[in-house]
């Protein structure tokens, strides 16, 4: 049965590598739900976190197909119980109405978010959390009026001494 899984990938930090990784998913008809990328402590390398909906056999293929790519150094599917998965949301809410503004501040504070910008028309806020928490936050603030939003996609690390 297909379910959402998260894969961590250590790659060469080189032009074209993101393209090649994304291209593998496209070519074999796997749909990337979210992807986040950035250099790691050794800046020659970058780490990608990809979430994808797949059954266990597909997931196995994804890992093996990624693993054999020359620029892919390590691949691991992350066990959700032993990993920390976080996502950041930037959201712009229509807060021309004072009631809306108050409600926005309440929700953002409840999620330990940050208010990044306020003007008479709207508020830009930042919230981080597990992807489900972000979904929930969006649902809560939808009635206020979302002007636009941007999510980073999941980034993840394993707990304790577990390493990629």
């Amino acid at each position: 049965m297909a379910k959402m899984s998260t894969i961590a990938i250590l790659v060469e930090n080189r032009p074209g590598v993101l393209f090649n990784v994304a291209n593998m998913f496209r070519r074999r008809s796997y749909n990337i739900e979210s992807i986040s990328v950035g250099p790691v402590e050794n800046t020659e390398l970058a780490r990608m976190t990809v979430s994808v909906e797949a059954d266990s056999r597909e997931l196995n293929q994804i890992v093996e197909q990624l693993d054999k790519m020359v620029d892919v150094i390590k691949v691991k599917r992350l066990d959700p119980m032993r990993s920390i998965m976080r996502e950041m949301l930037l959201v712009k809410l229509d807060t021309g109405d004072p009631m809306a503004r108050e409600e926005t501040l309440r929700h953002v504070n409840a999620r330990h978010g940050l208010i990044l910008h306020i003007d008479p028309e709207c508020i830009v806020a930042e919230v981080t959390g597990e992807p489900e928490e972000i979904d929930e936050f969006i649902e809560l603030t939808r009635p206020i009026g979302i002007e636009e939003l941007s999510r980073t996609g999941i980034t993840a690390l394993e707990k304790g001494r577990l390493k990629l």
């Binding site: 790659v11 693993d67 054999k68 020359v70």
Partner: protein
Amino acid sequence: MSGARAFVEALSQEGVETLFGVTGGAVLPICDELWGSDLRFVMARHEQGAAHMADGFARVSGRVGVCLATSGPGATNLVTGIATANIDSSPVVAFTGQVPLSVLGTDAFQEVDIIGITASATKYNIQVRRPGEIPHAVRSAFHIASTGRQGAVLVDLPKDTQIDSEDMEFPEDVSFRGYEVRLEPNPRELDWAATLLSKARRPVIMAGGGVVASNASPELIRLAEMLVAPVATSLMGKGAIPGDHPLFAGLCGMHGTGEANLLVSDADVLLVLGARMSDRTTARLEDFSPAAKVIHVDIDRSEIDKNVETVTRVIGDARLALKGILERLSMMSLDRSTNGEWLKKMERFREEYTPPELSGNPHLRAPAVMKALRRALPRDALVTTEVGQNQMWAALYFDAYAPRTFLSSGGLGTMGWGFPAAIGAKAARPDLPVVDIAGDGSFGMTENNLATCVEEDLPVVVVVLNNRVLGMVAQWQRLFYDRRYMAVELGESPDFVKLAEAYGAVGVRPETLEEFERVVGKAVSDNMTTVIDVMIDPEENVFPMVPPGKGLRDILVEA
């Protein structure tokens, strides 16, 4: 040293003697360096041909085949050849010129994003950004193309990196953090595989291209004889065991032999050696070898469980794996009391599923032509095929006696592949006769390389099974589309005898099998490029056949 000079030097260091290509504006600096060098440049008449030549060269010699094209259309014309080589794990390195870095990305004249285009058709590709990177790029390309699961690598060379000079370092070894080649199989995996095989009552070995690539034929034959196990092959595995070996069951799959398909279906242990188990080999997956415990040996871990679910796997080089299994089995006691029965079954299946001879048909029949061709050629002759009916007739009715003597575009099924691949094969082994088994449709796709044969003195023989129709598609339309022939009739044009003559080659149209054999013999002994036009029945079907969507047991032997 200029980039172009370094390029030629790097090729020499790789031991390259021949490259296949078509020149153009963006490779002028390289061509200028090739002028006066020891490298042989075989001029194809179209870049697709150049890539197939490099592929044919690689498959016959086991060494990397090299092709070169200019930027833009030169590069895109290579793509079919690159994809063909890559899916069949043939070590090919393609070099393309590119517009200068100064205009890269501006849609300059003859600019195309060949790195993007070939991303999913190569094992790896590299765009050079500085002249000094060229030696490393060339070494890397050869290393990656020729190790592990072999494949195609493309190196894109912007024109200014060819012209400009930098200090050059020629690396002996290159390494990549993300590319480790593990040849040696895990001993535990070998233990499991050997144990399963030792207990098999109805063992079958399925040999694929990996057996050929790893030069494992002697070990394969030894194992088959030790287990008394029939050997079926995929198209890519043809030749891994001699076609006249008593344990050879033939090709397995959509156009497999009755005995191969039924033995695979009845097996209790199936040893898959270096085969991808594609849809053409397995037919309907749900019905594939239902009772068998499958052991899959492959150097590419991603092939395990991709299509067929396995009980145990061995990751590594097929030859080393076979050696390990043989070593273990030689220390076990094998009960072969039931093997005689199993082999009798092979005989019975063979008799039951041999397609009937058509009588009262004035045309030469393709299977008979294939057998006559075999009689007319020495055992070590090299044969390539095109794609379609000709390919399946060749696979079924032309025996290959040694690995690397029967070459075919298996994965991509590229019409037009066989002829230029034959030219590449001839360049690798000028001492052996080379024959392309063609159809009139396929040959038409790359026939212009006749000029290359004649001008470059690379004589090959083309046997055109001429039915004036795109035969395999017509066969499907006949069997599954109620004879609604659409876009398959080729008519009477061209006259292949005159076509050959126009290129300065020999053209002949034998009327009988005896005449055909004589003509083949003469073409081989004269060592002349010869097109043999064999008129066959446009209505002739290739049998046996497993209809699309059916399992391996559903074998048609007549319409």
